[in-house]
Protein backbone atom coordinates (compact mmCIF):
# COMPACT_ATOMS: atom_id res chain seq x y z
CA UNK A 1 0.00 0.00 0.00
CA UNK A 2 2.75 2.42 0.92
CA UNK A 3 6.26 2.55 -0.46
CA UNK A 4 7.56 3.41 2.96
CA UNK A 5 5.88 1.00 5.34
CA UNK A 6 6.20 1.70 9.03
CA UNK A 7 8.11 -0.69 11.23
CA UNK A 8 5.19 -2.82 12.02
CA UNK A 9 4.50 -5.99 13.84
CA UNK A 10 1.45 -8.11 13.45
CA UNK A 11 0.24 -8.85 16.96
CA UNK A 12 1.53 -7.08 20.01
CA UNK A 13 5.22 -6.53 20.64
CA UNK A 14 6.65 -8.46 23.53
CA UNK A 15 9.90 -7.97 25.37
CA UNK A 16 12.23 -10.63 26.77
CA UNK A 17 11.32 -11.90 30.23
CA UNK A 18 12.03 -9.36 32.96
CA UNK A 19 12.38 -6.32 30.72
CA UNK A 20 8.77 -5.28 30.45
CA UNK A 21 7.25 -2.94 33.02
CA UNK A 22 3.72 -3.83 32.05
CA UNK A 23 2.92 -7.06 30.29
CA UNK A 24 -0.41 -8.28 29.04
CA UNK A 25 -0.62 -11.98 28.27
CA UNK A 26 -3.47 -13.75 26.47
CA UNK A 27 -5.95 -11.44 28.12
CA UNK A 28 -9.57 -12.42 27.58
CA UNK A 29 -12.70 -10.82 28.94
CA UNK A 30 -16.18 -12.25 28.56
CA UNK A 31 -19.15 -10.44 30.08
CA UNK A 32 -21.85 -12.75 31.35
CA UNK A 33 -25.24 -11.14 30.83
CA UNK A 34 -28.79 -12.39 31.02
CA UNK A 35 -28.95 -12.25 27.25
CA UNK A 36 -25.91 -14.48 26.94
CA UNK A 37 -22.15 -14.11 26.99
CA UNK A 38 -20.47 -11.21 25.27
CA UNK A 39 -16.85 -11.70 24.36
CA UNK A 40 -15.38 -8.20 24.54
CA UNK A 41 -11.70 -9.04 24.47
CA UNK A 42 -10.59 -12.30 22.87
CA UNK A 43 -6.86 -12.54 23.19
CA UNK A 44 -4.44 -9.70 23.79
CA UNK A 45 -0.71 -9.91 24.30
CA UNK A 46 1.72 -7.01 24.38
CA UNK A 47 4.39 -5.45 26.57
CA UNK A 48 5.19 -1.93 27.63
CA UNK A 49 8.81 -1.11 28.38
CA UNK A 50 9.73 1.30 31.13
CA UNK A 51 9.26 4.91 30.02
CA UNK A 52 7.34 4.15 26.84
CA UNK A 53 4.43 6.24 25.60
CA UNK A 54 2.07 3.91 23.82
CA UNK A 55 -1.29 4.68 22.27
CA UNK A 56 -4.02 2.10 21.90
CA UNK A 57 -6.31 2.87 19.02
CA UNK A 58 -9.23 0.90 17.71
CA UNK A 59 -12.66 1.23 16.19
CA UNK A 60 -15.42 2.22 18.55
CA UNK A 61 -16.75 -0.72 20.51
CA UNK A 62 -13.44 -2.53 20.23
CA UNK A 63 -13.17 -3.15 23.96
CA UNK A 64 -10.61 -0.42 24.61
CA UNK A 65 -12.15 0.62 27.91
CA UNK A 66 -12.58 -3.01 28.96
CA UNK A 67 -8.91 -3.65 28.28
CA UNK A 68 -7.87 -0.56 30.19
CA UNK A 69 -10.00 -1.47 33.20
CA UNK A 70 -8.51 -4.97 33.24
CA UNK A 71 -5.03 -3.46 33.21
CA UNK A 72 -6.01 -0.99 35.93
CA UNK A 73 -7.22 -3.85 38.13
CA UNK A 74 -10.76 -2.47 38.11
CA UNK A 75 -12.13 -5.47 36.21
CA UNK A 76 -11.21 -9.12 36.54
CA UNK A 77 -10.19 -10.76 33.30
CA UNK A 78 -11.80 -14.02 32.30
CA UNK A 79 -8.43 -15.56 31.53
CA UNK A 80 -4.89 -14.46 30.88
CA UNK A 81 -2.99 -12.05 33.06
CA UNK A 82 -1.55 -8.59 33.42
CA UNK A 83 1.74 -8.10 35.22
CA UNK A 84 3.21 -4.89 36.55
CA UNK A 85 6.90 -5.23 37.33
CA UNK A 86 6.47 -8.98 37.35
CA UNK A 87 3.57 -8.91 39.82
CA UNK A 88 0.24 -10.26 38.61
CA UNK A 89 -2.43 -7.55 38.93
CA UNK A 90 -5.45 -8.64 40.97
CA UNK A 91 -6.68 -5.22 42.14
CA UNK A 92 -5.74 -1.61 41.46
CA UNK A 93 -1.95 -1.47 41.97
CA UNK A 94 -0.32 1.27 43.98
CA UNK A 95 2.06 2.28 41.25
CA UNK A 96 -0.64 3.02 38.71
CA UNK A 97 -2.87 6.02 38.15
CA UNK A 98 -5.88 6.28 35.87
CA UNK A 99 -7.23 9.35 34.10
CA UNK A 100 -10.85 8.78 33.13
CA UNK A 101 -12.75 10.22 30.22
CA UNK A 102 -15.49 11.62 32.46
CA UNK A 103 -13.42 14.21 34.29
CA UNK A 104 -16.56 15.87 35.69
CA UNK A 105 -17.51 12.70 37.51
CA UNK A 106 -14.04 11.52 38.38
CA UNK A 107 -13.11 14.67 40.31
CA UNK A 108 -14.87 15.05 43.65
CA UNK A 109 -17.04 18.17 43.42
CA UNK A 110 -16.98 18.74 47.20
CA UNK A 111 -13.20 19.11 47.19
CA UNK A 112 -11.27 22.08 45.88
CA UNK A 113 -8.71 21.64 43.12
CA UNK A 114 -5.70 21.24 45.44
CA UNK A 115 -7.68 18.96 47.77
CA UNK A 116 -8.63 16.71 44.85
CA UNK A 117 -4.98 16.39 43.87
CA UNK A 118 -3.98 15.84 47.48
CA UNK A 119 -6.55 13.21 48.44
CA UNK A 120 -4.82 10.07 47.07
CA UNK A 121 -1.57 11.21 48.74
CA UNK A 122 -3.31 11.88 52.04
CA UNK A 123 -4.91 8.46 51.85
CA UNK A 124 -1.52 6.87 51.14
CA UNK A 125 -0.12 8.50 54.29
CA UNK A 126 2.33 10.87 52.60
CA UNK A 127 3.55 13.45 55.17
CA UNK A 128 1.95 16.87 54.98
CA UNK A 129 4.99 18.85 53.86
CA UNK A 130 5.73 16.46 51.03
CA UNK A 131 2.08 16.39 50.04
CA UNK A 132 2.06 20.14 49.72
CA UNK A 133 5.16 20.08 47.56
CA UNK A 134 3.84 17.30 45.30
CA UNK A 135 0.49 19.03 44.85
CA UNK A 136 2.16 22.33 44.05
CA UNK A 137 4.51 20.72 41.53
CA UNK A 138 1.73 18.75 39.87
CA UNK A 139 -0.47 21.83 39.54
CA UNK A 140 2.44 23.78 38.10
CA UNK A 141 3.16 20.98 35.64
CA UNK A 142 -0.37 21.19 34.24
CA UNK A 143 -0.46 24.99 34.35
CA UNK A 144 -3.05 25.29 37.14
CA UNK A 145 -0.96 26.66 40.00
CA UNK A 146 -3.17 29.75 40.08
CA UNK A 147 -6.48 28.04 40.96
CA UNK A 148 -5.80 25.66 43.89
CA UNK A 149 -8.75 27.03 45.87
CA UNK A 150 -11.33 26.80 43.09
CA UNK A 151 -13.82 24.00 42.90
CA UNK A 152 -13.46 21.77 39.82
CA UNK A 153 -16.94 22.68 38.55
CA UNK A 154 -15.93 26.33 38.45
CA UNK A 155 -13.38 25.46 35.75
CA UNK A 156 -13.74 24.70 32.05
CA UNK A 157 -13.76 21.10 30.86
CA UNK A 158 -10.17 21.27 29.67
CA UNK A 159 -9.01 22.68 33.01
CA UNK A 160 -10.92 19.99 34.89
CA UNK A 161 -9.13 17.31 32.92
CA UNK A 162 -5.85 19.07 33.78
CA UNK A 163 -6.78 18.72 37.45
CA UNK A 164 -7.38 15.00 36.93
CA UNK A 165 -3.99 14.74 35.20
CA UNK A 166 -2.36 16.65 38.06
CA UNK A 167 -3.95 14.26 40.54
CA UNK A 168 -2.52 11.31 38.62
CA UNK A 169 0.92 12.93 38.29
CA UNK A 170 1.14 13.89 41.97
CA UNK A 171 0.47 10.25 42.86
CA UNK A 172 3.86 9.47 41.26
CA UNK A 173 2.77 6.38 39.38
CA UNK A 174 5.07 4.19 37.32
CA UNK A 175 2.29 3.67 34.82
CA UNK A 176 -0.22 6.29 33.79
CA UNK A 177 -3.35 4.89 32.13
CA UNK A 178 -5.54 7.27 30.20
CA UNK A 179 -8.97 6.27 28.93
CA UNK A 180 -9.91 8.58 26.04
CA UNK A 181 -9.17 11.52 28.31
CA UNK A 182 -9.72 14.19 25.68
CA UNK A 183 -12.81 12.80 23.98
CA UNK A 184 -15.08 15.32 25.70
CA UNK A 185 -13.07 18.53 25.26
CA UNK A 186 -13.06 20.90 22.30
CA UNK A 187 -10.44 20.66 19.56
CA UNK A 188 -8.24 23.56 20.62
CA UNK A 189 -8.13 22.50 24.25
CA UNK A 190 -7.42 19.02 23.05
CA UNK A 191 -4.30 20.12 21.17
CA UNK A 192 -3.01 21.87 24.31
CA UNK A 193 -3.68 18.82 26.45
CA UNK A 194 -1.89 16.54 23.96
CA UNK A 195 1.20 18.71 24.23
CA UNK A 196 0.81 18.68 28.00
CA UNK A 197 0.87 14.88 28.04
CA UNK A 198 4.02 14.81 25.92
CA UNK A 199 5.75 17.28 28.23
CA UNK A 200 4.65 15.52 31.41
CA UNK A 201 5.80 12.21 29.97
CA UNK A 202 9.22 13.62 29.07
CA UNK A 203 9.68 15.45 32.34
CA UNK A 204 8.68 12.61 34.64
CA UNK A 205 9.80 9.60 32.66
CA UNK A 206 6.52 7.88 33.48
CA UNK A 207 5.20 5.02 31.32
CA UNK A 208 1.99 6.05 29.58
CA UNK A 209 -0.72 3.92 28.02
CA UNK A 210 -3.13 6.21 26.22
CA UNK A 211 -6.39 4.86 24.85
CA UNK A 212 -8.07 6.81 22.08
CA UNK A 213 -10.33 6.37 19.10
CA UNK A 214 -8.69 9.30 17.34
CA UNK A 215 -6.11 8.13 14.79
CA UNK A 216 -4.34 11.49 14.46
CA UNK A 217 -4.09 11.81 18.20
CA UNK A 218 -2.59 8.36 18.59
CA UNK A 219 0.12 9.08 16.02
CA UNK A 220 0.85 12.58 17.25
CA UNK A 221 1.20 11.45 20.87
CA UNK A 222 2.61 7.97 20.70
CA UNK A 223 6.06 6.55 20.30
CA UNK A 224 4.25 3.39 19.42
CA UNK A 225 0.67 2.69 18.39
CA UNK A 226 -1.16 -0.55 19.05
CA UNK A 227 -4.10 -1.01 16.72
CA UNK A 228 -6.90 -3.15 18.03
CA UNK A 229 -9.30 -5.17 15.92
CA UNK A 230 -13.02 -4.80 16.32
CA UNK A 231 -14.66 -6.79 19.09
CA UNK A 232 -13.91 -9.57 20.13
CA UNK A 233 -10.60 -7.80 20.32
CA UNK A 234 -7.13 -8.94 19.35
CA UNK A 235 -4.08 -6.86 18.45
CA UNK A 236 -4.34 -5.99 14.78
CA UNK A 237 -0.95 -4.38 14.48
CA UNK A 238 1.73 -2.81 16.60
CA UNK A 239 3.67 -0.03 14.90
CA UNK A 240 6.54 2.21 15.91
CA UNK A 241 6.03 5.92 15.33
CA UNK A 242 9.28 7.17 13.86
CA UNK A 243 8.47 10.86 14.12
CA UNK A 244 10.94 13.33 15.67
CA UNK A 245 10.84 13.43 19.47
CA UNK A 246 9.96 17.13 19.50
CA UNK A 247 6.35 17.19 18.37
CA UNK A 248 4.62 20.32 17.29
CA UNK A 249 0.95 20.63 16.45
CA UNK A 250 1.64 22.35 13.12
CA UNK A 251 5.09 21.06 12.12
CA UNK A 252 4.62 17.43 13.07
CA UNK A 253 1.15 17.13 11.66
CA UNK A 254 2.30 18.49 8.30
CA UNK A 255 5.25 16.12 7.94
CA UNK A 256 4.89 13.67 5.04
CA UNK A 257 5.74 10.87 7.45
CA UNK A 258 2.81 11.84 9.69
CA UNK A 259 0.52 11.59 6.70
CA UNK A 260 1.93 8.19 5.74
CA UNK A 261 1.46 6.83 9.23
CA UNK A 262 -2.01 8.27 9.37
CA UNK A 263 -2.90 6.57 6.08
CA UNK A 264 -1.53 3.32 7.32
CA UNK A 265 -3.35 3.34 10.65
CA UNK A 266 -6.54 4.54 9.00
CA UNK A 267 -6.42 1.68 6.51
CA UNK A 268 -5.82 -0.82 9.31
CA UNK A 269 -8.77 0.50 11.29
CA UNK A 270 -10.96 0.28 8.18
CA UNK A 271 -9.86 -3.31 7.75
CA UNK A 272 -10.61 -3.97 11.38
CA UNK A 273 -14.08 -2.55 11.00
CA UNK A 274 -14.73 -4.88 8.08
CA UNK A 275 -13.84 -7.78 10.29
CA UNK A 276 -10.36 -8.49 8.98
CA UNK A 277 -8.35 -10.39 11.56
CA UNK A 278 -4.63 -11.11 11.23
CA UNK A 279 -4.35 -14.87 11.55
CA UNK A 280 -0.68 -14.54 12.30
CA UNK A 281 -1.45 -12.56 15.42
CA UNK A 282 -3.84 -15.17 16.68
CA UNK A 283 -1.38 -18.02 16.19
CA UNK A 284 1.44 -15.99 17.68
CA UNK A 285 -0.34 -15.14 20.90
CA UNK A 286 -1.75 -18.60 21.19
CA UNK A 287 1.63 -20.26 21.45
Amino acid sequence: MLSNNPTSHAGGRTLPEGEALLSVRNLKKVYHTDAGDIEAVRNLTFDLGRGELVCLVGPSGSGKTTLLKCIAGLLNSTSGEVRLDGQVITGPPKKMAVVFQEYGRSLFPWLRVAENVELPLKNAGVPKEERKRLVQEALEAVGLAHVPKSYPWQLSGGMQQRVAIARAVAYQPEVLLMDEPFAAVDAQTRADLEDLIRSVWKKLGVTVLFVTHDIDESIYLGERVIILSSSPTIVQEDILIDLPAERDQLETRSLPRFTELRHHVYAEIQKAKQGHRPEEAITMVAK
Binding site: P92, V98, F100, F108, P109, W110, L119, W153
Partner: protein
Protein backbone atom coordinates in the same frame (compact mmCIF):
# COMPACT_ATOMS: atom_id res chain seq x y z
CA UNK B 1 -30.01 49.13 50.16
CA UNK B 2 -29.76 45.45 49.50
CA UNK B 3 -29.92 44.51 53.19
CA UNK B 4 -32.84 46.91 53.64
CA UNK B 5 -34.66 45.08 50.87
CA UNK B 6 -34.02 41.64 52.34
CA UNK B 7 -35.14 42.83 55.79
CA UNK B 8 -38.29 44.11 54.09
CA UNK B 9 -38.90 40.70 52.53
CA UNK B 10 -38.27 39.01 55.85
CA UNK B 11 -40.59 41.17 57.96
CA UNK B 12 -43.14 42.41 55.41
CA UNK B 13 -45.66 39.61 55.62
CA UNK B 14 -45.41 39.14 59.43
CA UNK B 15 -46.14 42.88 59.87
CA UNK B 16 -49.15 42.72 57.57
CA UNK B 17 -50.50 39.68 59.43
CA UNK B 18 -49.99 41.39 62.78
CA UNK B 19 -51.82 44.49 61.57
CA UNK B 20 -54.68 42.37 60.29
CA UNK B 21 -54.90 40.50 63.57
CA UNK B 22 -54.82 43.78 65.52
CA UNK B 23 -57.60 45.26 63.38
CA UNK B 24 -59.73 42.13 63.65
CA UNK B 25 -59.44 41.88 67.44
CA UNK B 26 -59.49 45.56 68.45
CA UNK B 27 -63.22 46.11 67.73
CA UNK B 28 -65.23 43.38 69.40
CA UNK B 29 -63.25 41.44 72.04
CA UNK B 30 -63.41 37.67 71.67
CA UNK B 31 -62.67 35.52 74.70
CA UNK B 32 -60.90 32.90 72.62
CA UNK B 33 -58.66 35.25 70.61
CA UNK B 34 -56.53 37.76 72.52
CA UNK B 35 -55.37 41.08 71.04
CA UNK B 36 -51.72 41.37 70.00
CA UNK B 37 -50.94 43.63 72.97
CA UNK B 38 -52.58 41.22 75.44
CA UNK B 39 -50.73 38.27 73.91
CA UNK B 40 -47.41 40.10 74.11
CA UNK B 41 -47.80 40.93 77.81
CA UNK B 42 -49.00 37.40 78.54
CA UNK B 43 -46.07 36.00 76.59
CA UNK B 44 -43.58 37.96 78.64
CA UNK B 45 -45.31 37.17 81.93
CA UNK B 46 -45.72 33.48 81.16
CA UNK B 47 -42.46 32.53 79.52
CA UNK B 48 -39.75 34.97 80.53
CA UNK B 49 -38.91 33.74 84.01
CA UNK B 50 -39.20 30.44 85.80
CA UNK B 51 -41.07 28.58 83.06
CA UNK B 52 -38.19 29.16 80.67
CA UNK B 53 -36.04 27.01 82.91
CA UNK B 54 -38.60 24.47 84.13
CA UNK B 55 -40.49 23.90 80.88
CA UNK B 56 -38.98 25.45 77.76
CA UNK B 57 -35.33 24.50 78.17
CA UNK B 58 -35.99 20.85 79.14
CA UNK B 59 -38.26 20.51 76.10
CA UNK B 60 -35.63 22.00 73.82
CA UNK B 61 -32.96 19.77 75.36
CA UNK B 62 -35.02 16.66 74.70
CA UNK B 63 -35.71 17.83 71.18
CA UNK B 64 -32.03 18.51 70.46
CA UNK B 65 -30.85 15.23 71.99
CA UNK B 66 -33.56 13.24 70.21
CA UNK B 67 -32.99 14.81 66.82
CA UNK B 68 -29.19 14.58 67.03
CA UNK B 69 -29.38 10.94 68.13
CA UNK B 70 -31.79 10.20 65.28
CA UNK B 71 -29.43 11.87 62.77
CA UNK B 72 -26.35 9.98 63.99
CA UNK B 73 -28.18 6.64 64.20
CA UNK B 74 -29.86 7.21 60.85
CA UNK B 75 -26.60 7.96 59.09
CA UNK B 76 -24.67 5.10 60.67
CA UNK B 77 -27.41 2.55 59.98
CA UNK B 78 -28.01 4.04 56.55
CA UNK B 79 -24.35 3.60 55.63
CA UNK B 80 -24.34 0.02 56.87
CA UNK B 81 -27.47 -0.84 54.92
CA UNK B 82 -26.80 1.27 51.83
CA UNK B 83 -23.35 -0.18 51.21
CA UNK B 84 -24.60 -3.75 51.23
CA UNK B 85 -26.99 -5.01 48.59
CA UNK B 86 -28.18 -7.99 50.64
CA UNK B 87 -28.80 -5.82 53.70
CA UNK B 88 -30.84 -3.46 51.54
CA UNK B 89 -33.00 -6.22 50.18
CA UNK B 90 -33.58 -7.71 53.64
CA UNK B 91 -34.28 -4.49 55.51
CA UNK B 92 -36.21 -2.32 53.09
CA UNK B 93 -39.69 -3.88 53.54
CA UNK B 94 -39.24 -3.84 57.32
CA UNK B 95 -38.19 -0.20 57.26
CA UNK B 96 -41.20 0.72 55.18
CA UNK B 97 -43.43 -0.95 57.78
CA UNK B 98 -41.91 0.90 60.72
CA UNK B 99 -41.86 4.14 58.86
CA UNK B 100 -45.56 3.84 58.17
CA UNK B 101 -46.36 3.64 61.89
CA UNK B 102 -47.36 7.07 63.23
CA UNK B 103 -44.89 7.68 66.13
CA UNK B 104 -47.61 9.00 68.54
CA UNK B 105 -49.06 5.49 68.79
CA UNK B 106 -45.69 4.42 70.15
CA UNK B 107 -46.02 6.76 73.13
CA UNK B 108 -48.09 4.35 75.29
CA UNK B 109 -45.86 1.45 74.25
CA UNK B 110 -42.68 3.31 75.11
CA UNK B 111 -44.24 4.49 78.38
CA UNK B 112 -44.57 0.86 79.38
CA UNK B 113 -41.18 -0.20 78.07
CA UNK B 114 -39.00 2.77 78.99
CA UNK B 115 -41.08 4.29 81.77
CA UNK B 116 -42.35 7.80 82.20
CA UNK B 117 -39.21 9.87 81.98
CA UNK B 118 -36.99 11.91 79.67
CA UNK B 119 -35.75 8.71 78.08
CA UNK B 120 -39.26 7.88 76.90
CA UNK B 121 -39.77 11.33 75.37
CA UNK B 122 -36.42 11.19 73.62
CA UNK B 123 -37.20 7.68 72.39
CA UNK B 124 -40.46 8.95 70.88
CA UNK B 125 -38.58 11.72 69.07
CA UNK B 126 -35.94 9.30 67.79
CA UNK B 127 -38.55 6.78 66.67
CA UNK B 128 -40.10 9.37 64.39
CA UNK B 129 -37.06 11.35 63.26
CA UNK B 130 -34.82 8.46 62.30
CA UNK B 131 -36.79 7.33 59.24
CA UNK B 132 -36.26 10.22 56.85
CA UNK B 133 -32.56 10.33 57.77
CA UNK B 134 -32.12 6.58 57.50
CA UNK B 135 -33.99 6.12 54.24
CA UNK B 136 -32.37 9.17 52.65
CA UNK B 137 -28.92 7.98 53.68
CA UNK B 138 -29.58 4.59 52.11
CA UNK B 139 -30.76 6.29 48.93
CA UNK B 140 -27.77 8.66 48.89
CA UNK B 141 -25.30 5.83 49.34
CA UNK B 142 -27.02 3.63 46.78
CA UNK B 143 -27.02 6.22 44.03
CA UNK B 144 -23.32 6.96 44.24
CA UNK B 145 -21.56 7.67 40.95
CA UNK B 146 -19.76 4.60 39.50
CA UNK B 147 -16.97 6.76 38.08
CA UNK B 148 -16.33 8.17 41.55
CA UNK B 149 -16.20 4.59 42.83
CA UNK B 150 -13.65 3.61 40.21
CA UNK B 151 -11.62 6.70 41.02
CA UNK B 152 -11.53 5.75 44.69
CA UNK B 153 -10.64 2.18 43.89
CA UNK B 154 -7.87 3.05 41.46
CA UNK B 155 -6.27 5.36 44.03
CA UNK B 156 -6.54 2.77 46.76
CA UNK B 157 -9.10 4.75 48.76
CA UNK B 158 -11.09 2.06 50.55
CA UNK B 159 -12.82 1.18 53.80
CA UNK B 160 -13.27 3.96 56.30
CA UNK B 161 -11.31 6.46 54.19
CA UNK B 162 -13.68 5.87 51.29
CA UNK B 163 -16.71 6.47 53.51
CA UNK B 164 -15.19 9.66 54.85
CA UNK B 165 -13.79 11.12 51.65
CA UNK B 166 -16.19 9.86 49.02
CA UNK B 167 -19.42 8.26 50.19
CA UNK B 168 -20.52 10.60 52.97
CA UNK B 169 -19.81 13.85 51.11
CA UNK B 170 -21.47 12.50 47.99
CA UNK B 171 -24.58 11.45 49.93
CA UNK B 172 -24.77 14.66 51.97
CA UNK B 173 -27.30 16.48 49.75
CA UNK B 174 -29.75 13.58 50.11
CA UNK B 175 -29.03 13.18 53.81
CA UNK B 176 -29.64 16.87 54.44
CA UNK B 177 -33.06 16.63 52.81
CA UNK B 178 -33.84 13.87 55.31
CA UNK B 179 -32.56 15.96 58.22
CA UNK B 180 -34.84 18.82 57.23
CA UNK B 181 -37.86 16.50 57.47
CA UNK B 182 -36.58 15.08 60.75
CA UNK B 183 -36.53 18.54 62.32
CA UNK B 184 -40.19 19.27 61.75
CA UNK B 185 -41.20 15.75 62.82
CA UNK B 186 -39.06 16.25 65.93
CA UNK B 187 -40.87 19.41 66.96
CA UNK B 188 -44.25 17.72 66.61
CA UNK B 189 -43.14 14.70 68.62
CA UNK B 190 -41.58 16.87 71.31
CA UNK B 191 -45.02 18.35 71.98
CA UNK B 192 -46.93 15.09 71.69
CA UNK B 193 -44.56 13.16 73.95
CA UNK B 194 -45.23 15.78 76.65
CA UNK B 195 -48.98 15.66 76.34
CA UNK B 196 -49.19 12.17 77.86
CA UNK B 197 -48.29 11.46 81.48
CA UNK B 198 -46.02 14.41 81.92
CA UNK B 199 -45.55 17.08 84.55
CA UNK B 200 -43.41 19.57 82.71
CA UNK B 201 -42.48 20.72 79.25
CA UNK B 202 -44.01 22.90 76.58
CA UNK B 203 -46.60 20.37 75.43
CA UNK B 204 -47.69 19.71 79.01
CA UNK B 205 -47.96 23.44 79.83
CA UNK B 206 -49.97 24.25 76.71
CA UNK B 207 -52.44 21.46 77.48
CA UNK B 208 -52.67 22.68 81.09
CA UNK B 209 -53.51 26.22 79.93
CA UNK B 210 -56.09 24.91 77.53
CA UNK B 211 -57.81 22.81 80.19
CA UNK B 212 -57.90 25.72 82.65
CA UNK B 213 -59.23 28.11 80.00
CA UNK B 214 -56.11 30.28 80.26
CA UNK B 215 -56.62 31.23 76.64
CA UNK B 216 -54.00 33.98 76.11
CA UNK B 217 -51.42 31.80 77.92
CA UNK B 218 -52.27 28.89 75.64
CA UNK B 219 -51.81 31.10 72.60
CA UNK B 220 -48.50 32.35 73.90
CA UNK B 221 -47.32 28.74 74.21
CA UNK B 222 -48.14 28.18 70.58
CA UNK B 223 -46.09 31.26 69.75
CA UNK B 224 -43.15 29.75 71.64
CA UNK B 225 -43.45 26.60 69.51
CA UNK B 226 -43.53 28.69 66.36
CA UNK B 227 -40.44 30.59 67.45
CA UNK B 228 -38.57 27.35 68.18
CA UNK B 229 -39.53 26.10 64.72
CA UNK B 230 -38.25 29.27 63.09
CA UNK B 231 -35.01 29.10 65.05
CA UNK B 232 -34.49 25.45 64.04
CA UNK B 233 -35.09 26.27 60.43
CA UNK B 234 -32.57 29.14 60.50
CA UNK B 235 -29.95 26.97 62.17
CA UNK B 236 -30.59 24.23 59.61
CA UNK B 237 -30.25 26.66 56.72
CA UNK B 238 -27.01 28.07 58.07
CA UNK B 239 -25.53 24.60 58.48
CA UNK B 240 -26.80 23.44 55.11
CA UNK B 241 -25.37 26.46 53.32
CA UNK B 242 -21.99 25.71 54.82
CA UNK B 243 -21.96 21.97 54.33
CA UNK B 244 -23.48 22.01 50.85
CA UNK B 245 -21.84 25.09 49.42
CA UNK B 246 -20.21 22.91 46.77
CA UNK B 247 -23.53 21.31 45.88
CA UNK B 248 -25.45 24.56 45.38
CA UNK B 249 -22.56 25.94 43.33
CA UNK B 250 -22.44 22.82 41.19
CA UNK B 251 -26.21 22.92 40.58
CA UNK B 252 -26.01 26.58 39.61
CA UNK B 253 -23.31 25.82 37.05
CA UNK B 254 -25.23 22.83 35.69
CA UNK B 255 -28.42 24.84 35.37
CA UNK B 256 -26.63 27.69 33.60
CA UNK B 257 -25.46 25.37 30.80
Amino acid sequence: MKTLKSVGFLLGLPIILLLWWWLATSGAPNFFVPTPAKLLTTFVETWIGERLITDVLPSIMRLVVGVLAAIVLGIVLGLAVGLNRTMRAVTEPVFEFFRALPPPVLVPVLMLLVGINDGMKIAVIISGCIWPVLLNTIEGVRSIDPVQNETSRSYGISGFARIRYQILPSATPTIMAGVRQALSIGLILMVISEMFASSSGLGFTIVQFQRSFAVPEMWSGIVVLGLIGVALSFIFQAVERRVLRWYHGLKEVENAV
